[in-house]
């Protein structure tokens, strides 16, 4: 039977757990050191509030700009996808085609890859619709026969530039079909919208990259100054046996905190902008009956925070690895 203490709990023999205790001890020491370093970095940042605020604001603005552009592009894309349903190919059937030929054509159109749906309007239906809509009803009575052809409305799948190109091949294929008289399409403006969106996406990347590099350099410079002002401290730490990673740690934490704070403020700035714009955006969305993506969302927020954290610690790492080597006790 295992030994039990007075509370009835099992007690372990001392010798076996000796190693574990020392490891747990070390781990606790390590954790508490990280906590202490983090709070120390925060304290040092708060000791120079204006300096910190300026840095954080510049980071925030540099993150807000590409993020705002990204949101704009995403929303335009969402608007565009609404119009894509209107990318229709109108296929005019030859007048002399009989009902079997029309049925064959319907089958052929349906079977084409990249076609979402095909609907048929017979010549009679077309005439009725025309009468009802045009107001020429009585005048049409004088015509001997129906001047309107039967029509297929073909809806191609259009989501991006690539599928637009695919739609072009669909159209070419339809033109080849024997019972087809003419094909009419209007996708030029959709093409333009898509190239605009693509350009916007590239702009987001370019702007994001440039400003991200700016944030990296800014944080790097802030950390460099901080390293210089703590030169004596670094030397003493190295003299008493502090490793390079020990010396690096507070600066990496400072960079991380700066990046995270910048991203947080960027999110707040974006959110405020959206609030300010919300009423006009809602009107716009209603006009286009669009389900607009709008805000960053939780994932977007997390992505922005991650970006801030990466840039912050990256910039700090960059500065630390460049400048810490120069500081050795002499």
């Amino acid at each position: 039977m295992a030994a039990t203490d007075k509370n009835g709990r099992e007690t372990t023999p001392r010798g076996a757990s000796g190693q574990n205790i020392s490891f747990a001890h070390r781990w606790r020491g390590y954790k508490s050191h990280h906590r202490a370093t983090l709070s120390d970095s925060l304290t040092k940042m708060l000791r120079e509030p204006m300096q910190t605020l300026m840095t954080v604001l510049v980071i925030a603005i540099a993150l807000t700009l590409p993020a705002a552009l990204y949101l704009t592009v995403e929303n335009v894309k969402a608007l565009g996808s609404n119009f894509e349903s209107s990318a229709q190919i109108t296929v005019y059937v030859k007048r002399q085609a009989n009902s079997t030929a029309i049925e064959t054509l319907a089958g052929q159109l349906d079977a084409m890859p990249g076609v979402i749906s095909v609907s048929f309007i017979s010549a009679e239906q077309a005439l009725l619709e025309f009468k009802a809509l045009s107001g020429f009803g009585s005048a049409l009575r004088y015509l001997e026969d129906n001047p309107l052809p039967a029509v297929f409305l073909v809806q191609p799948l259009v989501t991006d530039q690539a599928s637009l190109a695919q739609a072009e091949t669909i159209i070419a294929g339809i033109r080849e079909l024997p019972t087809v008289d003419a094909v009419q399409i209007d996708m030029g403006w959709l093409q333009r919208l898509h190239s605009l969106i693509e350009m916007g996406q590239k702009l987001v990347l370019a702007l994001g990259f440039t400003l991200g590099l700016g944030v990296l350099l800014l944080i790097g410079n802030t950390i460099r100054l901080s390293i210089q002002s703590r030169r004596d401290e670094i030397i003493v730490i190295k003299l008493v046996g502090g490793t390079n990673s020990y010396v690096r740690r507070p600066f990496l934490y400072t960079g991380l905190l700066l990046g995270l704070l910048g991203a947080l403020i960027a999110s707040i700035m974006l959110f405020s902008c959206l609030m300010w714009l919300s009423s006009s955006v809602e009107t716009l969305a209603n006009l286009y009956q669009s389900n607009i993506v709008w805000g960053l969302g939780l994932m977007g927020f997390l992505a922005l925070m991650l970006l801030g954290a990466t840039l912050g610690s990256g910039g700090a790492w960059f500065a630390v690895s460049r400048h810490l080597r120069d500081i050795e006790p002499r």
């Binding site: 050191h33 004596d232 003493v236 008493v240 046996g241 002499r330």
Partner: protein, 225 residues
């Protein structure tokens, strides 16, 4: 414990700070290193701290050749050594406690252990009541004693001191020497660089004399200056 084997140090400028220095110190031994300023005392201590590497010759600590230590191994080595600096090298924006705790913090000691050891070290130098103060509010002697507490708080096997009694009056100097004696008595190897002749004269210890980078005199020939 400490073994200098024909060690020389020549700086890139051509200045030869140490020439063929050879001596051995046993564990628990205490010795003075003396000589005029510029004779190589500081360079010799820097060798022991691995702040400088020898141009030729070897330095063995506890049988281990320091030349074979990589840069990454330097911190671990320095944790076995305690140093009392001439200008005490205290961090002025930290309290006495935090200054003394530094060697333990860099080695990853848990907070409770740090508190216990720092107070023991401060008690040893008679400054337990000053732990919350900043170095600037202390007298020169007190600052020096904080430096000593920091040098011994992690129980090093080697204690180096560079002019530890630099600007102190004789009474304070003897107090500090008594402290060093106590560490020696528990087995710490103590090497004190000084040109304080009166101090040397008062203590019956081994004296090593450096002159122009060379060891000219090594023995228990105290006094006689």
């Amino acid at each position: 414990m400490i073994c200098f084997d024909n060690l020389s140090k020549r700086y890139p400028s051509g200045f030869e700070a140490l020439r063929n220095v050879s001596f051995t110190m046993e564990a628990g031994e205490m010795a003075f290193l003396t000589g005029h300023s510029g004779a190589g005392k500081s360079t010799l201590l820097k060798m022991l701290m691995l702040m400088e590497r020898p141009t030729s010759g070897n330095l063995l600590i506890n049988g281990k050749n320091l030349n074979r230590l990589s840069t990454a191994q330097i911190p671990m080595y320095r944790r076995q050594v305690g140093v009392v600096f001439q200008n005490h090298q205290l961090l002025l924006d930290r309290t006495v406690f935090e200054n003394v705790a530094l060697p333990l913090q860099v080695s990853g000691y848990p907070a409770v252990e740090i508190g216990r050891r720092v107070r023991a070290a401060l008690d040893g130098v008679g400054l337990l009541d000053k732990e919350r103060e900043r170095p600037m509010t202390l007298s020169g002697g007190e600052q020096q004693r904080v430096g000593i507490a920091r040098a011994v708080v992690h129980k090093p096997r080697i204690l180096l001191a560079d002019e530890p009694t630099g600007n102190l009056d004789p009474e304070l100097s003897s107090e500090i020497m008594a402290l060093f004696r106590r560490f020696q008595s528990v087995g710490v190897t103590v090497l004190i660089a000084t040109h304080d002749i009166s101090l040397i004269n008062r203590m019956q210890l081994r004296i090593m004399r450096l002159e122009d980078g060379g060891l000219t005199d090594d023995g228990a020939t105290y006094g006689g200056y």
